[in-house]
Symmetry: C2
Subunit: 432 residues, 2 copies
């Protein structure tokens, strides 16, 4: 199924699509060279926003759920990419320990876990699931809607304390599908003999969005030069604001002033390109995920006028953790619709390869709102369509494969940024 | 489209499918480890025969045409595999010189060339075509049915004589899609600064089927142990017979005696498994391709009774080259049909990855005949179908993805054999 592309591209983004398609060999070679220098994250999903006048990543997830939402036709692509990834970290790997989130009642999430197990089995691994809940000693079997089940098993450190595994299961690689929002469990510390992927500093206990988007700035500077476009076409302005506490009115003025200056930078760009939309910014927790602690603002004065409910919402993230540091990011409206609903593309990658994607669709949200919220549903991106390779003969802006190729390029720019971010924030950098 | 699987599997092959599916993690890990030791051919297609009681490769092509017959949905898999391959040989590659066959009037073949160019462009390469015709000095543009065209350009050696390229085009890698049946052109000799892929000794000027199937024997010995099956289930008996000349009745008795002894080995196996079919052997040129110089024999006496036309047919291969060396291979009837026509699967690989396949279908041929003949047509294998990963819950022998997975495994066994074959026949082996 190809979602109907309601906005046939025109204006600036049409030009971007043309430039990206024409520069394909140069772009792919550039990525190939970058991946010689930088190690891609093991896996990653990127939320994109396509406003018709710009196309930008707004969230880069290093512990992607939602593999169950990818079209089944594209699974062989995921298996192939996972084979390449595994070979890199542990070519003789036999066992993989997967550590999922503890959303044990969320059958959508459990289907994601089952899908990941299926993918890694096909790469030649025995996959078992570990339970990150502290102190748990019993296995727990969870039923899936298709009648199958998955089993979470208690974790064990080896006798010498150096390795992590399960009963009768010594993995070469430990794959986290848990974003560590609530901190780093002590059982994951000091595992020097096994590959722990992604590394602990990729988890939200340590990671900061502002580091990611700073790295993305760097990536885009180089890429925009390569394809000869204004970097702003691919990059939302952002700034960070630390040590605020909206419940206690701390740092409110600094936040309002940052919002105000970002909005005025946006107005200049909107004027330059003749864009009639009303600029807005997104304020969100610098650490954290799951669509929590996010607000959309069109005027700096809105900050001081926030009501108590809004202040509370902006003060607590996933797992009830307090929010004191935020980033303010240029809002990119999404002009893509599926039927009557607002949609945004999400692109999935394993190692350096795009392996699929879907549209996140929300019937009750506007074009300038966060769609990662209860009520969202998912429509697989049509990477699997006939002529899934770019069609150079097609009229620009009219074919799905050409647009999806562009999405894949921008998602990989965010992937590369995540790679730089991980290098820069590594607490124990390797010296070469 | 899934071709109707007329023979639901039963008997020995059903058991093989079960064993292969159950052993998937072990099989994939085994391949992973083998590819640590051996370099896969750059690309490869394998003709398989599924008789219901055995599944075996009957031809391993190291210069595959027919990429245009793969389903378009699966092209991203080919691109991803090609990325991995290119990265291995020349990570900073910018230019690829592709040297096709000189079938300039065969628009099917030209579509294969165009498809290969499209795949490699997506991996970040500028691709141009060189003309292997000796003495040609002009470019030649050839029209394709879809209105596009491809251009064959004259080859040039660099001023110092060390490199091969085109005007203003210095490639890092030269990819042969020409099987060199008529010998190694001198312009391809002594290219030590560029990657020439596949290597010259993969071409039919040097290559011998008997070396390939000897290597396949070795591979199957190990694999059959891993999955606990009779190696014969996956491996056709073969023997070779050199220095014959059927036109001049030279070596006829030796050939008849080899045929006779192979048929009696087969009869024993047929008896062991209760197979009611009439055994037959295929006699074919030890060097050569394109379905030429092949005959199907059920009785050794047929050799001395060959008529003049048959003798002539068996004496001349592709490009009119004389045939003096043959291999005699156990015939594997194909029990797969599409509509009323006999069909055999062909699996395509790039580097170590299965990237697609199709059924070769021939309306006018029998189950014990060669289908690679004028009148054949091609139906893409449904690797792209829903649940393209093996379905472990399905009833054995009933689902296409499970069968295609088994095909992919056997095709990769032939790929591995080709890798061993290339190592053993390398005229300049690298010493490690």
């Amino acid at each position: 199924m190809v979602p109907h592309l309601v906005t046939a591209l025109n204006g600036p983004l049409l030009d971007l699509e043309k430039k990206i398609l024409a520069a394909t060999p140069a772009i792919e070679r550039w990525f190939r060279m970058e991946w010689q220098e930088h190690t891609p994250p093991f896996y990653c999903s990127v939320d994109l926003r396509n406003s018709g006048f710009k196309l930008a990543p707004v969230d880069t997830n290093l512990f992607p759920g939602g593999f169950n939402n990818l079209s089944a036709e594209m699974l062989p692509l995921a298996v192939q990419a996972a084979m390449a990834a595994i070979e890199k970290y542990c070519p003789d790997a036999k066992n993989l320990l997967l550590l999922p989130e503890l959303h044990t009642k969320n059958t959508f999430y459990l289907q994601n876990v089952a899908r990941l197990m299926q993918i890694f089995r096909q790469t030649g691994l025995h996959v078992r699931l570990g339970n990150l809940t502290e102190g748990v000693t019993e296995s727990q079997t969870l039923e899936l809607p298709d009648g199958t089940s998955v089993t979470l098993e208690p974790l064990q450190r080896s006798a010498n304390g150096r390795r992590l595994g399960l009963e009768n299961f010594d993995p070469c690689t430990i794959l986290l599908n848990n974003d560590l929002s609530s901190g780093i469990p002590s059982i994951l510390e000091n595992l020097n003999e096994q590959n722990l992927l992604p590394p602990l500093h990729a988890g939200w206990a340590v990671r900061r969005k502002s580091n990611h988007f700073a790295a993305y700035d760097e990536v885009i500077k180089k890429f925009a030069k390569l394809v000869d476009v204004d970097p702003w076409m691919l990059n939302p302005f952002f700034t960070k604001c630390h040590q605020i506490n909206l419940q206690e009115h701390i740092g409110e003025e600094a936040l309002a002033s940052s919002v105000s200056s970002l909005l005025s930078k946006m107005r200049k760009k909107y004027k330059e390109y003749g864009i009639k939309e009303k600029p807005f910014v997104i304020v969100k927790a610098d650490a954290g995920t799951c669509g929590m602690g996010i607000m959309s603002i069109t005027d700096a004065n809105q900050i001081k006028d926030l009501n108590l409910k809004q202040r509370n919402k902006m003060s607590v993230g996933k797992d009830g953790l307090p929010i004191h540091d935020v980033i303010i990011q240029e809002g990119v409206p999404t002009f893509e619709h599926i039927n009557e609903s607002v949609a945004e593309p999400v692109v999935y990658m394993i190692d350096r390869y795009v392996v699929g994607g879907f549209y996140r669709v929300h019937a009750d949200r506007g074009i300038n709102e966060n769609l990662n919220a209860p009520g969202a549903h998912y429509v697989p991106l049509a990477f699997a369509q006939q002529h899934a390779l770019p069609d150079l003969l097609a009229k620009p802006g009219t074919t799905a494969p050409n647009r999806f190729y562009m999405y894949g390029v921008v998602a990989r720019l965010a992937l590369l940024a995540a790679s730089l971010e991980m290098e820069k924030t590594d607490p124990n950098p390797e010296i070469y």
